[in-house]
Amino acid sequence: MTRYIAQRLLILPLLMVIYSFVIFLIIQAPPGDFLTAYVATLASSGSSISADQIAALRHQYGLDQPFLVQYFLWMQNLLHGDFGLSLEYQRPNADLISEQLGLTLALALFSFVLTWAIAVPAGIYSATHPRSLIDHVLTVINYVGVATPNFMLALILMWLAFAYFDINVSGLFSPEFVDAPWSFARVGDLLFHIWLPGLVLGIAGTARLSRIMRANLLDELNKPYVVTARAKGMREWRLVLRYPVRLAFNPLVSTIGWYLPALFSGSLIVATVMNLPNIGPLLLRALINQDMYLAGGILLIYSFLTIVGTLLSDVLLALLDPRIRVES
């Protein structure tokens, strides 16, 4: 087991190297570099900058170097925790990212918990009461949930809240708490605001997850070991929770591998629409303004979270399923 985890941990840096290279390729791809964009912005705001100054800046940022050299420079800095300087904000990228990272993680994790808390019981109910009225209702909700893009749901909810209740549901804080230092009151305010974006972000996942749970559990309920357990004289609900649910759960755990990353990248859209403090909108701006090192840094963090999510699900699955644990 420890060997298994160690193996997975060893792959992590290798994957990060591959990702970083691909990401560097992508952020380098647009014609021109961020200085071109910067000069254009300056020009539009009336100020200008001399060719010498541009050349000096270009040299300072290493933009006159060949691609691979630039990549290694970038990697070297990254290893020292230096994410570079944002051109647009004229501040260290690391600061910009870390300001938003906590709330980004909080939103994704909150949504994750919400998803599981809703999807698992709903799936269990549907599978143990197939073709019942509630099962049908849940099925309809699931289909619509999967079919509704995140941002559509966000728009509809925000519009309804604004047009009919005259409340503004964007943001994660009430105005008086936006820039306030952390306090219990601020956490309370956050918990009050986070559930709507959390729900919006998690709705498709909830639908998909409860469908998986339902199908798995229906399968498991037909297995002979359920008959064995019944023949022992167990109470039905205890039996269902102890045996088939436990087994139906395992494939669900392996979905964490793709679901957590999907949440992180999905939060990008929801955060943009709902105006949430999140690295998503930051990335969007950075991409549009060719603030390449900021974009690269954020993309790297997304990749890192993705790998960690996969790793987490593999380890959890091994812990839960003795068949995997013993073999590895």
Binding site: L15, I18, Y19, I23, I26, I27, A29, P30, P31, Y143, V144, V146, A147, T148, P149, N150, F151, M152, L155, I156, M158, W159, F162, A163, N168, S170, A215, L218, D219, G257, W258, P261, A262, F264, S265, G266, L268, I269, T272, V273, G280, L283, L284, L287, I288, Q290, A295, I298, L299, Y302, S303, L305, T306, I307, T310
Partner: protein, 368 residues
């Protein structure tokens, strides 16, 4: 067993298999309804102008944010469709235009009537439209108008063409990639399989939306809408093929052991020929089912990218592009009909999912 007779038998087996799938699919009533809906939507894709009421690019600043003009089919008990006239008055204080429907003044609406002229599939020219005002000088807005006074209804028809095509083409590309690479992986095995499997794993663990955004942001600004359209399609399919690749590989692994493949090999068929002639047909129905479940994912992705401004770019029209107009909540409160493209997205995705589930059940009644 001679070659011709075995080929004939193959055909019979495949035909009856298709008939079986069709027979089982027909029993899913919702899937059948959805299939009908999708066929209708692809008719719109073929000739969006026929279904449009006005030229989707026609702007008129004085006709911005006109609300939905409900179509009424009966006039005094006789069949004669009409919409109420809408008149605007500027609010004395806010100076905003306020539109009021006046049912007393009716604008007659005709079916299969003349309107602006257009080309069908770029070939023949016509000016017949499904719905048009009886008086061609009138403008009617069945789903309201946007900030530039463009007709939402007609724009949705054109958006349908783009978005449904992106979904279809992206999935077609994914299928080609998935079948070829997955088939290679499963059929050849060994090192090839290893490499392709690692690539699939890598692609599947990519944080998709950010990478898509970055790739689209990397597209040159001066590309034409058509170029952007194809680039976006390729970007979407690059990640989308992996699920299919996995599935095809799994089926190849199972099939490789079966007798008829061995027989074909002994008979000296080339590998590609074995794959295409003998192996692909046996699981074509699964590929179709999986693809029809992949199309809605592509549609949602395209819509999301375009909505964020990094997908299809105006002047091209897609559902996502149309939804960009609905980004501002204040505007939305004023003109909620700007959300209608979103409803179309939901309906289309729902229909694809229902058809896909129906097909999957029909293709493989025993797998859940």
């Amino acid at each position: 067993m001679s070659g011709t007779s075995s080929a004939a038998e193959d055909r019979v087996a495949i035909a009856s298999n298709w008939r079986l799938v069709w027979w089982r699919f027909r029993r899913h009533r919702l899937a059948m309804i959805s299939a009908g809906l999708l066929i209708f939507m692809y008719m719109i894709v073929l000739a969006p102008d026929f279904f449009s009421v006005q030229d989707p690019e026609r702007t008129d600043a004085r006709q911005a944010f006109i609300p939905v003009q409900m179509i009424h089919f009966f006039d005094d008990g006789s069949l004669s469709p009409w919409v109420p006239t809408i008149t605007g008055k500027r609010h004395p204080v806010t100076l905003r235009m306020e539109w009021v429907a006046d049912p007393a003044r009716k604008v007659g609406v005709r079916f299969f009537a003349r309107g602006y002229s257009y080309r069908v599939l770029g070939v023949f020219e016509t000016n017949v439209h499904l719905i048009a005002p009886a008086d061609p000088t009138q403008r009617i807005f069945l789903l309201g108008s946007d900030r530039l006074g463009r007709d939402q209804w007609s724009r949705i028809m054109h958006g349908t063409q783009t978005s449904m095509t992106v979904g279809l083409v992206a999935v077609a590309l994914s299928v080609i990639l998935g079948v070829v690479l997955g088939g290679l992986s499963g059929y050849v095995g060994g090192k090839t399989d290893q490499v392709i499997q690692r690539i699939i794993e890598l692609l599947q663990s990519v944080p998709t939306i950010p990478i898509w955004l970055a790739l689209s942001a990397a597209l040159p600004r001066d590309w034409t809408p058509i170029q952007v359209f194809f680039a976006i399609t390729v970007i979407l399919s690059l990640v989308g093929w992996t699920t299919l690749g996995r599935e095809v590989r799994g089926r190849f692994l199972a099939l490789r052991e079966e007798d008829f493949v061995l027989a074909a090999r002994l008979a000296g068929c080339s590998r590609m020929r074995i794959i295409l002639r003998h192996m692909v047909p046996t699981f074509a129905s699964h590929i179709i089912a999986t693809s029809s479940l992949a199309i809605p994912v592509m549609i949602i992705n395209e819509t999301s990218l375009s909505f964020l401004g990094l997908g299809i770019r105006p002047p091209a029209i897609s559902w996502g592009v149309l939804l960009q107009e609905a980004q501002n909540i204040q505007t939305l409160a004023l003109a909620p009909w700007l959300l209608t493209p979103g409803l179309v997205v939901i309906v289309a995705v729902l229909a694809f999912n229902l058809v896909g589930d129906g097909l999957r059940d029909a293709a493989d009644p025993y797998s859940n």
